[in-house]
Amino acid sequence: MSVEELLVFEHGGTSWGVARAEVRGFGAAGGGVAVTLRHGRVRADRVVGMLPAPVVARPGRVLRRFWPVHARGLAVVGGRVVVVIDPLAPPPGLAPEIEGGADA
């Protein structure tokens, strides 16, 4: 099994992750970090780092019932639970801008 590497960052008290392949760059953004992705940008309070994520499980029904937010999956990375976002549809409040990238 290939171990996916995720860029893990924190925002709003939650740990988020995005596939490393989606990440294009970083920039400062109002006290935080603006992560430039292939298809947009997301805002991070703090970037934890690139961490391996062996398992990325899809959100179950119960979770979807109580948190109807689109996410690619959930993973436990470095002892923390990370919500892996879909770079094309990040959760609201995380990525207000979507821009066309080089690979769009």
Partner: protein
């Protein structure tokens, strides 16, 4: 309903959620652990406390007292998280139910359930002279 029953009763894990005593059938309980730390999710329903890590797996944790609509009770010195199977048998998934206290293992007599419902609380029974809400987590994932 598949039950872990004794002699004419359903063996349940008795917990306290708020002021209610809730019984979770043992066959739906995976583990009882000390209260797990949760990481909240933005825009989540109030019942969803957040995600916890259990056995290397992400575990959504729900507040049982909210789920059953229990009035707020006394603060517990030993809150627990009941790791249980929720959802229909073929699509069950692990969820955490945050309870104020794990009391004991009880046997709820079959047929003593009153007020049978198709929701989370399948009914109410008397255990040791006090009412207990018997849960059925198969319907937890249902909308």
């Amino acid at each position: 309903m598949t039950t872990a029953s004794g002699e004419g009763g359903i063996r349940c894990l008795l917990v306290r959620a708020g002021e209610y005593r809730c019984a979770v059938p043992l066959n739906q309980v995976r583990r009882v652990v000390a209260s797990l730390a949760t990481h909240p999710l933005p825009n989540a329903a109030p019942e969803l406390l957040g995600l916890a890590e259990f056995g290397g797996e992400p575990l959504p944790v729900l507040e049982l007292a909210r789920l059953v609509g229990a009035p707020e009770g006394a603060a517990s010195p030993h809150p627990v998280t009941v790791v249980a199977w929720a959802g229909p048998p073929r699509e069950r998934e692990l969820v955490g139910l945050a309870a104020d206290q794990a009391l004991s293992i009880v046997e709820v007599p079959v047929g003593s359930l009153a007020g049978g419902q198709a929701g989370l609380v399948s009914g109410e029974a008397l255990v040791d002279g006090a009412p207990v809400r018997v849960l059925n987590l198969e319907h937890l994932g249902a909308a």
